[in-house]
Amino acid sequence: MRRYVSSSLTRIAASLCLALCVLWTHTLADDYVLAMLEKVRQRYGEEAYQNVMRLNELYSQLSGTSEMTKIGMINDFVNQHVMFVDDINIWGKEDYWATPLETFGKGAGDCEDFSIAKYTLLKKLGILQDKLRMTYVRARMSSGTLRAHMVVAYYATPNSDPLILDNLNFQILPASRRSDLFPVFSFNEQGLFVANNPNQRAGSPNNISKWRDVLTRMRQDGLE
């Protein structure tokens, strides 16, 4: 009997603890993730909400850590919480660039969506965009076939050998050790002036560039 009481007490305490913890993390959490939390719950439901909650926890853990840690944790987080699915199966479109909100909402995406999510989250963690490049690569699969792929490259310095954040190979390796990838073209937000043009509308026929389009959508969600 006593034991029962103590165990229920323990359980209440634990629940209280968890609740406090949630409250705590809520209050401390990054505004970005907080905003995302609200929207995710509204649009995609509880499961997605839980994913973002975890992202929230991750954010709180990562504040003040080194860039290397951030890169590793974010890479792992995205790779673990997003399932690789072709766009056509998620969005019903051939090639759709999703915002992180959409990707975590669906819990699925293809290589661009992985890269966009990692790029955005890292940028939000304070890593300069100059150091980050989304890169189109030609990937040689283990079967020997070639495939178009996208990864995020992290340049510690402009001339350094970049680290590759990939969703095919979860391990973060320098580019020199990724002989299966051959870079074709890289880009970041440099030279894109989305914020400067208030008339730009996401998905408008004027807006052909997918990269620009996805950035615009993020901005419209208030989640740049």
Partner: protein, 642 residues
């Protein structure tokens, strides 16, 4: 400034403002579109070039060549590659951009866009950042060209709309002109009615004015009918409807004294046995018989132009012609008519005698009448032929008056301009001259004599030369107008009034004279009312030319005076027969008073003809005559200075 012009200007200004607004918005939109396109071009070209450069062998020469090629082939202001350490590696700049668009235009629609930026990779190594700017002068030129076209088209459209609005407004406001015309006519006491326009406001206005016109018209018509009845009562015999003794005597006496009179004819018919008939059949049957005789005489008299007839006393009838006629033939015809009447009637036969004579200008009617009465009294009861009261001169005169001879003489007179205009002053109150009435005088034959109209008008009419003579008179009048400041009035015959040639002549001549209001045209009552439509047209024509127009010798057709309400006549001259001895005839005074009042209602000046003395003048002044003419009237006449 006219209403149409003001509305047109307002419309044009509004159109210009709208167009200018559209133009500015259009250019502004173009400008935005162009900026957007250039921004995209910058981005796309930068990415394209960067992709190319990322996938080639990156020796400096190749990279520089590719950048140069891109720069040289395209429209760029600047293409540069900056190393990761922010050092410019390659740069191509167009330092002399050439633009046709003026500086103010460029600063008004300045296109601010960002350069296109893209990364160039060399394997996993960063090679550099590509910065690419397109040349904006191209966009400015394009925009400038478009704007200039748009301005041009805007101006063309504004001009066209000005023209179209003018035409359109004219159509909309067309009824307004008619309304104004009617209002002005009413102002001049021309009581016209016009068709009601379709526009509601105009329709109401016109309806009201038409009602006013109709009211005046009916008033004037009623008044003229009343005066006509009064005229008949005063001046016409109640049994036969012919002129009564006084009126016939006056008419003949006035005609004989008239300036234009030359030769005429007088016939007297006397019923002999009226007292017997009266005794046997009674008063009313006798009156019936007298009426039948009167009707026969009137009907016969209508066969001749300018012949009047009257009942002078119980059984005495008079027939007088103002024109030269063969009195033998005419008297015989009248005798025949009465004999036929006698034969046709069932009652007691009446006996009658006929006497006839030629009359000359200056003859005294009372004398002639007395002589003829004497002869009739002498004659046997039933004379077989009408009796001629001879005049020694008449045979000689009639022999001369052959038609061919007349024609010759007319042509000579016309050719040698042997014509002149007489001048008789028509005086208003306060010694003011209204105008000189100017009848035509013709010089015929070798003698020194100038013939008045009465002497030749019948012949001229037979030869169809009246309108030619009227035309000559008009020439003379215009000549006189050029030479002096006087106002003149010329007579217009029925033939001239109808003649297109004469009308054209008026139009041509009127353009040459100053103050056309100095010239008046007058048409006789007979000519005017016998072809009233022509008269109306004639009046409109001369009024439109700025001349005055009036009617002369008004004496008999009083019931028709009401028709003048819409013409805007300037004056009416009452015949001397109405004026004669007016001071002795109170009824005649009230008739004339009514006539004066009526014509003044229509804005017409009443004028008296043939005034002979101060007594007549005083009487006329009292009944409201506004101007006078006649033997007594001189330029220094004191009239109406009471």
């Amino acid at each position: 400034m006219s209403l149409i012009k003001q509305i047109r200007i307002a419309i044009s200004v509004i159109i210009l403002m709208v167009a200018a607004g559209c133009l500015f918005l259009g250019v502004y939109d173009d400008h935005r579109f162009m900026a957007e396109q250039m921004q995209k071009k910058n981005n796309d070209n930068a990415n394209g070039l960067a992709i190319t450069l990322s996938n080639i062998q990156k020796d400096n020469v190749t990279v520089e060549l590719i950048v140069s090629a891109q720069f040289d082939m395209g429209n760029y202001r600047r293409i540069a590659i900056v190393s990761p350490e922010n050092k410019t590696m390659i740069e191509r700049v167009n330092r002399n951009p050439h633009s046709v668009a003026p500086k103010w235009f460029q600063s008004l629609f300045s296109i601010s866009i960002h350069p296109g930026v893209a990364n160039i990779q060399s394997g996993w190594q960063q090679y550099g950042t590509l910065i690419l700017e397109s040349e904006p002068s191209l966009a400015y030129d394009q925009l400038w060209e478009t704007s200039r076209h748009a301005v041009l088209w805007t101006l063309i459209v504004a001009l066209m709309s000005y023209v179209v609005s003018g035409v359109w407004l004219k159509r909309i406001l067309k009824p307004l002109e008619d309304v104004i015309g009617q209002a002005e006519a009413l102002g001049e006491r021309k009581y016209i009615t016009i068709k009601e326009p379709k526009t509601e406001e105009f329709r109401k206005l016109v309806r009201t004015m038409n009602i006013l016109s109709d009211r005046v018209k009916s008033m004037v018509t009623a008044e003229s009918e009343r005066l006509n009845v009064l005229n008949l009562q005063i001046n016409y015999d109640e049994v036969t409807g012919l002129m009564n003794q006084a009126h016939f005597s006056n008419t003949v006496a006035v005609a004989l004294k008239d300036d234009s009179f030359v030769e005429g004819m007088l016939i007297l018919v006397q019923l002999r046995n009226l007292s017997e008939i009266d005794k046997q059949l009674g008063y009313s049957v006798t009156n019936q018989l007298i009426k039948k005789v009167g009707d026969a005489i009137r009907q016969q008299a209508e066969h001749y132009a300018d012949v009047v007839s009257g009942r002078m006393s119980g059984g005495m009838f008079g027939i007088f012609s103002r024109q030269p006629l063969n009195d033998f033939a005419v008297a015989a015809e009248f005798k025949l008519v009465l004999e036929k009447l006698n034969a046709a009637q069932q009652l007691m036969q009446f006996q009658f005698v006929v006497a006839h004579t030629k009359t000359k200008k200056g003859d005294d009617f009372a004398d002639i009448h007395r002589v003829m009465q004497f002869i009739l009294d002498l004659s046997s009861d039933q004379a077989v032929v009408p009796m001629r009261v001879m005049n020694a001169n008449s045979i000689l005169t009639s022999r001369k008056n052959y038609l061919g001879q007349w024609k010759e003489q007319f042509l000579q007179a016309i050719e040698h301009k042997n014509i002149k205009l007489a001048r008789y002053p028509v005086m208003q109150r306060e010694q003011q001259l209204l105008h000189y009435e100017c009848p035509l005088r013709l010089h015929i034959d070798e003698g020194d004599q100038w013939l008045a109209a009465g002497a030749f008008i019948d012949w001229a009419s037979q030869l169809d030369m009246i309108k030619t003579l009227d035309g000559l008179a008009l020439d003379c009048a215009v000549d006189m107008l050029h030479k002096s400041d006087d106002s003149l009035s010329v007579n217009v015959s029925a033939a001239a009034m109808r003649s297109d040639e004469y009308r054209a002549k008026i139009q041509n001549l009127m353009q040459t004279i100053q103050q056309p209001a100095r010239l008046s045209f007058e048409v006789s009552e007979e000519a005017a009312f016998s072809d009233f439509l022509q008269f109306r047209e004639f009046v409109y024509l001369v009024k439109s030319l700025g001349c005055m127009v009036g009617m002369e010798h008004v004496a008999t057709r009083m019931a028709q005076l009401g028709d003048l309400h819409e013409l805007g006549l300037d004056f009416v001259k009452f015949d001397a027969s109405l004026i004669r001895d007016i001071h002795l005839r109170p009824q005649q005074q009230s008739l004339l008073r009514g006539l004066c009042m009526m014509v003044r209602t229509m804005g017409i000046m009443p004028i008296a003809e043939g005034v002979r003395d101060q007594k007549e003048l005083d009487s006329l002044n009292a009944v409201g005559i506004e101007a006078v003419t006649g033997p007594f009237v001189q330029e220094n006449l004191q009239f109406g200075t009471l």
